[in-house]
């Protein structure tokens, strides 16, 4: 549902069905909604069968990269004598994204169940849920849910009476965007500085504490119980874009739009309908100018591109951007694109872990130039310099934070060059410049 708005008839509430339903938060209420039946079912299955069902469902990672979940799980080799870990990435820090927050606030037991099934399927003895430091309420809800689950014997040495051990722990991050990067998350979980690690080795080989680890997004894991209960075919059939993108997806919508909130639609839903129908279109008297559809690190779309987009992994790529985390940031005609992009760059500069030279220096440099242009102090060379810096920042660092900072700058200059040039040539009214003149 378009929480906090009432569910729209064209939504497909699967994961978000209980958003706003206080009863579903506690264990008893959750059981009444059919909770933990999937875990019961899973524990009676062979782990390999679960992996096969998830593979068949076509479920792809909902954190941003869209890697097939079943395939990721099959990289784990249980029985190699090592400890195995499942990490749930609940460090939802991508600007514009707040779907995991709502999942944890309203259906914490859904995540506990998803983690338990995931851990059992990949042969992980321990699952960790790494929650963003600023998420105080979701953290409290998750801690309570895990406590309840242990007390009820759902987790622990004899999970749901199956004789199988499933452990889930909740860990609070310290509030760093970069800790949502999977290897930085592992460093942080280990008690180190949250710096991304060089890959290879990949987490499935040497992850948390140097042991084989699988890391999944909250939304990914929460989808698994539904797939187990209803079958892979149900999940695939739901989507308009099967078999490449399957199931439903939560989109967090914010910015200059009539009804911001979380919306769950099936893959392949028309983005135009989504923006104008479900979300109610632009605020009164305004028109949309641009959309950043997948969190701050994906390319900006013009409205022509956005209105032609099918909402799935491939659809967004076809229209020059990415599905990303599903954080839709809408920008209307009253906004200065340069100011918006400068703000995004400032975010990335603030959050750079400072390991790689191009990211540490490049994000800050980009921000300084962007803010200079914004303030009417730009020069004719600045755009070329920005593009050249962006080139140096792309594909050359350990993780993609540096690339993410370059993305809005490059797409912004490409698609809204006029706004940049107007500020540089001072043809735009600017209060500071007007006062000086």
């Amino acid at each position: 549902m378009g929480f906090p708005h009432p569910s729209h008839e064209r939504e497909t509430p699967v994961l978000s069905k209980h958003f706003g339903n206080h009863e579903a938060i506690g264990l008893e209420g959750w059981r009444k909604q059919g909770g933990y039946q999937a875990l019961q079912k899973a524990l009676a299955m062979q782990p390999g069968e679960i992996v096969d069902i998830v593979k068949a469902s076509g479920l792809r990672g909902r954190g941003g990269a869209g890697f097939p979940t079943g395939m990721k799980w099959s990289f784990m080799k249980p029985g190699d004598g090592k400890p195995h870990y499942l990490c749930c990435n609940a460090d939802e820090s991508e600007p514009g994204t707040f779907k995991d927050r709502e999942i944890m606030r309203w259906t914490p037991h859904a995540l506990v169940e998803g983690c338990a099934i995931g851990a059992y399927a990949i042969g992980a003895e321990t699952a960790y849920i790494y929650i963003r430091g600023e998420f105080t309420e979701p953290l409290e809800r998750m801690r309570t849910a895990v406590k309840e689950a242990y007390a009820a014997g759902i987790l622990g040495p004899n999970a749901m009476g199956s004789g199988k051990r499933v452990d889930v722990h909740v860990h609070k991050g310290a509030g760093a965007y970069i800790c949502g990067e999977e290897t930085a998350l592992m460093n942080s979980l280990e008690g180190r500085r949250g710096n991304p690690r060089i890959k290879p080795p990949f987490p499935a080989v040497a992850g948390l504490f140097g042991q084989p680890t699988t890391i999944n997004n909250v939304e990914t894991l929460v989808a698994v119980p539904h797939i187990l209960m209803h079958g892979a075919d149900w999940y695939k059939a739901m989507s308009l874009s099967s078999p490449k993108s399957t199931g439903s997806k939560l989109f967090s919508v914010c910015g200059n739009i009539a009804r911001p909130g979380n919306y769950e639609v099936v893959m392949g839903f028309p983005f135009k309908d989504f923006l104008y129908d479900l979300c109610g279109g632009p605020p009164k008297g305004r028109t949309f100018k641009a959309v950043i559809p997948g969190g701050a690190s994906v390319p900006i779309q013009t409205m022509e591109e956005a209105e032609a987009t099918k909402m799935d992994y491939e659809g967004f790529v076809e229209q020059g951007t990415m599905l990303g985390s599903g954080g839709v940031i809408v920008i209307d005609d009253q906004q200065c694109m340069v100011k918006q992009i400068a703000r995004l760059a400032r975010f990335f500069a603030h959050e750079s872990c400072a390991q790689c030279t191009q990211c540490r220096e490049g994000t800050a440099w980009t921000t300084k130039i962007m803010e200079r242009i914004r303030d009417g102090e730009g020069t004719a060379q600045d755009l070329d310099t920005l593009l050249s810096i962006a080139d140096n920042m792309t594909g050359k660092t350990i993780c993609v934070l540096s690339d993410s900072c370059a993305v809005p700058v490059v797409s912004g200059i490409k698609k809204f060059r006029g706004e940049f040039e107007a500020l540089i040539k001072k043809t735009t009214y600017h209060p500071v410049m007007a006062a000086v003149a």
């Binding site: 390991q355 790689c356 030279t357 540490r360 490049g362 594909g395 050359k396």
Partner: protein, 534 residues
């Protein structure tokens, strides 16, 4: 007699990988990084954060190279070689990437090379000159952080720091003393010091050498010399029996800095602060500048042609006792042992000791308790270690004090000597009683070899000139032996060493050439108990 000199190790032959780097085919063991493999191919891949003595960080992104068929540039320090790889280090794409990194490293750098101690030996300066941009496109104000005292011998200049984290990794992974960290994020990041911690670890000074730029400076060396003013000489640290390979840096005949010289068999890339800062005695100005003989109850300067026969005259037919310094070279000790053999008598030495200080991250590397370079060599050449320099002296012996300042003697021991001959760089107290004083060079002023505690024989070179008429110890002793009728005739220290190698089975077969700059261990089976990696 065993002829192998390197300790035999059970090494399984590693699988070899063939690849091409800059058009040069090279075959290296499996698991090696492209950066190291490139060294084998004679190609230096510019880098900052990588150091062979530290764990790989892969953060400076300077060593990005183009690997054919790879989707993007690869960090060569963190990418292992693969069969058939074709690597381009100087392709347009790799050069552009490095140029980009260099520009970014410089945007907040103060460009204060004219007042920076690192200038001239700075990798940021070198690579920028080599392939950086001529100008900067950066127009904004530069980041500023004040200079900070990191404790010990180390100053931190954050404005010059490139955050390569070599210092952090050295303290964490080699010194096992977590003092440094990266504080803050983004371009506010600096190297920080944990609350209440200082760089007081006995090996902490290495962070200054490891720093590729002028961010970590030695307080001791601060403003002493520009790097192009110094003369560098390969040597061996005389500070303790570990015998770390080092470089002596002199300016105008004064030692201004000692730094480690890489030697995998002894000290890898490191040197302790005790050894590093223990150089002021090398510059002492109160030196004996001329030979002296006793005339009218006082010492009077003379020339070598008078002093050597006078010393020989005093020794003729007398039993001798040699109080040798454990910092004498093998060559000098060998010639002294010949003197003892010729005249009858004995030789002994005493070693000052102090607390041991290991470097945990490197096997068998420590500041050793024995604070002298060549105690092992003295023992191998027949000198007896005692708690006093004169422990083995008999009544009536002619005492030869060789480079020893006799700080370690007991009351009344001196009275047993019938006559005293001093051979050394500094006048010891006992010179009041000397018949003859023969001035010599100290170990930075002559060439020779030391034997470290694991029995590794290493060469050291002459770093500066000896004052006045002082001569190398081996030369003085060789002349003295000749005056006593012995066959010597050495014109070079290598010849004295050759004679030593011919006479002593421990050193059999060794020459200066075979020792090279990393040394060789003494012959194994002659010396039970000596072994190990050093």
């Amino acid at each position: 007699m065993a002829t192998t000199v390197e300790p035999a190790k059970a090494v399984t032959q590693p699988k070899m990988i063939n690849l091409t780097i800059e058009g040069r085919p090279v075959s290296v063991p499996e698991g090696m990084s492209i950066l190291e493999a490139a060294k084998h191919a004679g190609v230096l891949i510019p880098h900052y954060c990588y150091h062979p003595g530290l764990p790989v960080a892969g953060v400076c992104r300077m060593c990005l190279v183009e690997v054919e068929k790879a989707p993007k540039l690869a960090p060569s320090c963190a990418t292992t070689v693969a069969e058939g790889q074709v690597v381009h280090v100087h392709s347009a794409q790799s050069r552009e990437a490095r140029k980009g990194v260099l520009e970014m490293l410089l945007i907040n750098h103060p460009l204060d090379c004219p007042i920076c101690d690192q200038s001239g030996e700075c990798e940021l300066q070198d690579y920028t000159f080599q392939e950086g941009r001529q100008d900067s496109r950066y127009q904004e104000p530069k980041r500023f952080n004040p200079v900070e005292d990191f404790g010990g011998d180390v100053l931190y200049v954050p404005n010059r720091c490139i955050l390569c984290t070599r210092c952090v990794r050295f303290m964490d992974d080699v010194a096992h003393d977590t003092v440094l960290n990266v504080s803050e994020r983004g371009d506010r990041a600096v190297i920080g010091k944990f609350e209440g911690k200082d760089l007081t670890h006995p090996w902490a000074g290495n962070v200054v050498d490891l720093c590729p730029v002028g961010a970590l400076l030695s307080k001791d060396f601060l403003n002493k010399a520009r790097s192009w003013d110094v003369t560098r000489t390969a040597s061996v640290c005389p500070g303790c029996s570990q015998g770390c390979s080092m470089t002596v840096e002199t300016r105008d005949n004064m030692v201004v800095r000692l730094r480690p010289r890489p030697n995998d068999s002894v000290n890898e890339y490191f040197m302790c602060d005790y050894g590093r800062l223990n150089y002021r005695w090398m510059n002492r100005q109160d030196r004996i500048e001329a030979p002296m003989i006793r005339r009218d109850n006082a010492l009077a300067a003379t020339d070598w042609e008078t002093a050597i026969p006078a010393a020989a005259q005093a020794l003729k037919g007398k039993r001798v006792y040699v109080a040798a310094s454990p910092n004498l070279s093998n060559e000098a000790l060998f010639l002294l042992s010949r003197l003892v053999k010729l005249n009858g008598g004995a030789g002994g030495f005493a070693v000052e000791t102090g607390p041991e200080a290991p470097l945990p991250g490197v096997e068998d590397l420590a500041l050793r308790a024995d604070r002298a370079a060549n105690g092992k060599g003295a023992e191998l050449l027949g000198f007896v270690r005692g708690d006093s320099s004169l422990a083995g002296m008999q009544n009536g012996d002619v005492l030869i004090v060789a480079q020893d300042e006799l700080t370690l003697i007991r009351d009344g021991e001196l009275a047993r000597a019938s006559a005293v001959i001093v051979i050394g760089a500094i006048l010891p107290e006992i010179a009041r009683h000397a018949m003859v004083v023969l001035p010599t060079a100290n170990c930075t002023e002559e060439e020779g070899t030391f034997t470290n505690l694991r029995g590794r024989v290493q060469r050291f070179m002459q770093a500066k000139a000896a004052p006045g008429m002082a001569r190398p110890t081996w030369w003085v002793l060789s002349d003295l032996l000749a005056a006593l009728g012995e066959k010597t005739g050495y014109f070079l220290p290598s010849e004295a060493f050759g004679a030593l190698a011919a006479a002593h089975p421990h050193f059999a077969g060794m020459t200066y050439d075979s020792l090279g700059m990393r040394g060789l261990p003494v012959i194994q089976h002659q010396l039970p108990g000596v072994g190990g990696t050093a």
